[in-house]
């Protein structure tokens, strides 16, 4: 088999590379045949000339045989292809403006898609650069009966899964955390992961310096203060110190030995953030607080991944893991009743940003396809013009006996050249856009936003597939045109501008209609998204955004216990209030519209009979004295929390208006009592409704409890009302914090306005990108319309001249051309409007207080389209108006 293969390969290479020698041999072979035949004939008694003639007769046309032999060897196909390639390139060089325009359209069309695909691939399918075998990684979360959403896992459960699941070859813990990183006399927040000891080995990551973790790092309470740092951290903070291994670094107040430096381009395993350090699970308590958890089956904190063995499906692994959890449930009912696990494909990982980006990426993918279609219609348009210009050449070739199949091959080759150049340019565009997505999101101080885009084989394959389809389209359009060529007609008539003109114009008009309607749909979509964003951004959060700063101190990772935290808050508050420029200040547990979660719990309301099926769960915030005055939430009744609302006095709460309406129905709630988590509190005030999680949310019941009436380490978000800017205040604050404890890190200080803007960042990104793509589509459509109108004008020069000769003045002609172009636009817009009415419903989930059929969006799309069409038609119309009747008629 191998021998045969190598022999035929040798043959093929020979026929291709040593063409003249192979042809020579063939000629010799045939001559040899002829000579033998001649001798045979002469042996039968023929004279030599007759023998020669008979031999030549019996073999037939030698040139034809040679050609058939070449065909048999499969050489002609390849040779023809190279010939077509050379010819095609020459053709493209000859009309540079056509080639440039076509290739540009293709670059934009394919490039937009390649870029979006690279984001989809980088964020959803292979989110972790440098990690091996990601296609087999699945995210591992816990589930609890009766609770929607996911839970974390406990370390003992995790170990049991690891021991008993035979279908996975690795289990890793990867829990995102934060720590204060001591640099000199100050501290900074750093983002890191708590990972199991096998982390680096399992992911196939080899530290560039030092090593990863050892199995013993997985056990012992705070026993292994070691860390691996990221390449970036090593470069920025440690100046690429080659002797870094073995040095110590203060992390959350504890000296950690640096044992390794991760390789460049490895960012950890969390979509959205680049990790700066990795610490072993034995140190978990230091970063997260809440006691030692490695021996406690009820302490759930683990987020992790599992890598399936090759060929194992997620379903199979899920069944096995569920069975293991079932056994644990029987063995440890106290901690594991109703507990199981769920495996997720990476792009649905419940705890990182992949899921939140999914709808944005879906919209972008759809828009990308629209842009591609519009670009293709444009290229088609250009090709039709060219096919018309080349009709003479095609006709001559057909007349000279060139097969239509051969002609088709050549046209496809030209299409291939165009789309290959387009695809090449597109990949460069996509390469530039790779990391651009991350740049659109606001970064937080000291932490690196990382949204990867990769140009791997999948992106390349998809782009190649797109270009192939485009190639066929590009080749087929002129091919269809040549099919209609009427040999005699074209060759005879020099008045060829009339032949088939109408059919061609109709075809091109259809392409323009497609473009106009698709870009109209995009315009409506962009209009809707912009309006929605506008609504979101002008929506008042019902608290002050100006003149209020927000920051936080990290007490948990600094090892504070509840009592010390309680005391620290009071001390810091005294110092902050004494700072110049501070009008008021208050601590809170969570910041409105921030990244944190509000606590929530089922509540009991005194005097309110719960309907049997209702168990109202209400979110609340823990806030310090003067919180409402500081943040600017007006009170409609009662009073604000004060310093004396402390452990010695009766617990108090403030409810919002919606909550007051719902549970007290018009009666005054002040003085009534509510209970949450077993603690009764007296309502002392009613606050105006405001926005809590998102400006898009509807009014919901919410209440506030007084922070100084519970002792907890949590609750270190600091709000300050001041006319000073964030920078000045941050410096002053950092000084005060350091005066109390130099190990403490201060979070970024931002205005609440900034907080508000960040909360709408992903919408802004979506709108920006869709806007860019929509603008691109509009530009392409305008080029298409312009092309068609110029063509119409150039083709009907004679008619225009005639009209002018018959008394039409230039304004008549101007109107004539404009009318024709605008009619096309109008029909296109009508089609687009019909499509948009259907399609915009798909993005209604993105829209805030805007109907998918919003008249303003449709209206502005119409006006933009009209302006663009008028601009696109203006030049051709102007040219028509300047038609010189004498010259037009003479030509």
């Amino acid at each position: 088999m191998l021998e045969q293969w190598s022999y035929t390969l040798h043959l093929r290479l020979r026929s291709l590379l040593l063409r003249t020698r192979v042809d020579q041999e063939l000629r010799e072979e045939i001559r040899d045949h002829l000579e033998q035949q001649i001798q045979a004939n002469m042996a039968k008694g023929m004279p030599e000339t007759q023998a020669r003639r008979a031999a030549l007769n019996s073999i037939g046309a030698i040139a034809q045989i040679e050609d058939q032999c070449r065909d048999a060897r499969g050489v002609n196909n390849i040779e023809n292809f190279f010939q077509d390639l050379r010819y095609g390139l020459r053709q493209l060089r000859r009309s540079p403006s056509f080639s440039a325009l076509t290739i540009l359209c293709l670059i934009l069309g394919i490039g937009a898609n390649a870029a979006v695909l690279s984001w989809v691939e980088g964020i959803l399918f292979r989110p972790y650069p440098a990690v091996a075998n990601q296609e087999r990684l699945v995210a591992l979360s816990g589930t609890a009966m009766g609770e929607s959403g996911v839970t974390a896992l406990s370390w003992p459960d995790f170990l049991d899964l690891q021991r008993n699941c035979t279908l996975a070859d690795a289990f890793i813990v990867s829990k995102i955390t934060g720590a204060s990183l001591g640099i000199g006399d100050r501290s900074e927040r750093a983002r890191g992961s708590i990972v199991s000891a096998n982390y680096f080995d399992a992911l196939g990551i080899h530290p560039v310096l030092g090593r990863g973790f050892r199995p013993e790092d997985d056990s012992g309470r705070n026993a292994h203060p070691v860390m691996v740092i990221s390449y970036q951290l090593w470069k920025d903070r440690f100046k690429s110190d080659p002797e870094i291994i073995g040095k110590t670094q203060l992390l959350s107040g504890v000296q950690h030995t640096i044992i390794g430096v991760a390789p460049e381009g490895f960012y950890g395993t969390f979509v959205g953030w680049a990790m700066q350090f990795w610490a072993p699970v034995s140190m978990e308590e230091l970063f997260e607080g809440g006691g030692y958890k490695l021996d406690d089956r009820g302490a759930r904190w683990i987020e992790g991944y599992m890598r399936l063995k090759p060929g194992v499906s997620r379903q199979q692994a899920q069944e096995e893991a569920s069975a293991v959890m079932k056994r644990l449930e029987a063995d440890y009912p106290a901690t594991n009743r109703g507990r199981s696990v769920k495996l997720w494909p990476l792009w649905q990982t419940p705890w990182n940003n992949a899921g939140t980006l999914l709808p944005t990426l879906a919209i972008m993918l759809a828009v990308g396809i629209f842009v591609l279609l519009i670009a293709c219609a444009n290229v088609g348009n250009l090709l039709v013009v060219r096919a018309f210009a080349r009709r003479h050449e095609m006709t001559v070739r057909l007349a000279l006996g060139c097969g239509r199949g051969r002609l088709l091959k050549q046209l496809l080759t030209e299409g291939l050249i165009l789309s290959a150049l387009g695809a090449g340019g597109a990949l460069i565009v996509a390469y530039w856009c790779r990391h651009a997505l991350g740049l659109l999101f606001p970064a937080r101080a000291g932490m690196v936003m990382y949204l990867p885009g990769e140009l791997d084989w999948r992106v390349l394959a998809c782009s190649a597939a797109i270009s192939l389809v485009v190639t066929v389209l590009i080749g087929l359009i002129p091919a269809i045109q040549t099919r209609k060529i009427d040999l005699a007609g074209v060759l005879n008539a020099e008045s060829a501008s009339v032949v088939g003109g109408r059919g061609r114009a109709r075809f091109r008009s259809i392409l323009v209609l497609v473009q106009v309607s698709l870009s109209f749909i995009l315009l409506v979509g962009v209009g809707l998204l912009i309006q929605s964003l506008q609504k979101v951004r002008t929506e008042s959060p019902a608290f002050s955004t100006k003149g209020v700063l927000n920051t936080a101190v990290d007490l948990v990772s600094a090892g504070y216990d509840a009592e010390r935290a309680y005391a620290f808050r009071d001390e810091l508050m005294d110092r902050v209030q004494a700072l110049p420029g501070v009008e008021s200040a208050a601590f809170a547990l969570a910041t409105p519209l921030g990244y944190g979660y509000y606590p929530s719990g089922p509540i009991d309301v005194e005097g309110y009979q719960l309907p049997p099926e209702e168990q109202p769960t209400v979110e609340y915030n823990e806030v310090g004295p003067a919180y409402f005055a500081t943040v600017g939430i007006p009170l409609v009744a009662g009073r604000e929390f004060v310093r004396s609302d402390d452990l010695k006095n009766v617990p108090v709460a403030v409810v919002n208006e919606t909550m007051a309406d719902r549970f007290w129905r018009g009666n005054d709630p002040i003085g009534k009592r509510i209970q949450v988590k077993g603690r009764w509190m007296q309502v002392v005030g009613v606050a105006k409704d405001s926005k809590y999680d998102s400006v898009r949310e509807a009014a919901k019941p919410f209440f506030y409890v007084a922070m100084r009436q519970t002792v907890s380490v949590r609750g270190t978000t600091l709000n300050i009302r001041t006319p000073l800017g964030p920078q000045a205040m941050a410096t002053a604050l950092a000084r005060e914090v350091r005066a109390l404890d130099s190990n403490l890190a201060l979070y970024e200080t931002i205005t609440l306005q900034e907080q508000l803007e960040r909360s709408t960042a992903s919408q802004k990104v979506a709108v920006t990108l869709v806007g860019i793509l929509g603008g691109l589509a509009l530009l392409l459509a305008a080029i298409g319309l312009y092309g068609v109108m110029s063509y119409v004008v150039s083709q009907s020069a004679r008619e225009l001249g005639l009209r002018m000769a018959l008394g039409a003045d230039s304004s008549n002609l101007l109107r004539l051309v404009m009318r024709r172009g605008l009619t096309l636009t109008a029909i296109g817009m009508m089609l687009g409007a019909l499509g948009a009415l259907e399609l915009t419903r798909l993005i209604s989930g993105f829209l805030y207080k805007v109907s998918p059929h919003d008249p303003v969006a449709f209206g502005s799309a119409v006006s933009i389209m009209v302006v663009v069409s008028v601009a696109a038609c203006a030049f051709p119309a102007w040219r028509a108006a300047r038609t010189d009747p004498v010259r037009a008629l003479r030509n």
């Binding site: 093929r12 033998q36 048999a72 060897r73």
Partner: protein, 114 residues
């Protein structure tokens, strides 16, 4: 025009089989093959010399036969074709196919007559 310069698929396949069969006996040059072809089948199949060479080149390309320039006893340099192991297997399957087909056809013909 030669009637067989572009043989139909059936005849083409048959021609391939005949060539393989001839080469199975001993290596031959092109002219000798054409003489054998004429001997075997001159009355039934008209194979022109013109269609022989493309067929030989195709068989070579398929790896069923091998070509080698050799000097014959009369001191003539000729291109000799010989069967490869793959070609031998191919001949076997084609012969078997042919037998099956011809049996089937003759059965059908008999059926019709009965």
């Amino acid at each position: 025009m030669e009637p067989m310069t572009k043989p139909s698929d059936l005849v083409q396949g048959t021609l391939d089989m005949l060539i393989l069969k001839i080469l199975a006996l001993e290596p031959q040059n092109g002219w000798a093959i054409s003489q054998r072809l004429k001997q075997i089948s001159s009355e039934v199949l008209q194979v022109s010399d013109g269609s022989l060479y493309p067929a030989l080149h195709k068989l070579e390309q398929n790896g069923w036969i091998k070509a080698k320039w050799m000097t014959s006893e009369k001191n003539r340099r000729s291109k000799f074709y010989s069967l490869t192991a793959v070609g031998r297997r191919q001949l076997k399957t084609e012969t078997a196919n042919w037998d099956r087909l011809s049996t089937a056809i003759s059965n059908v013909v008999k059926l019709k007559e009965a």
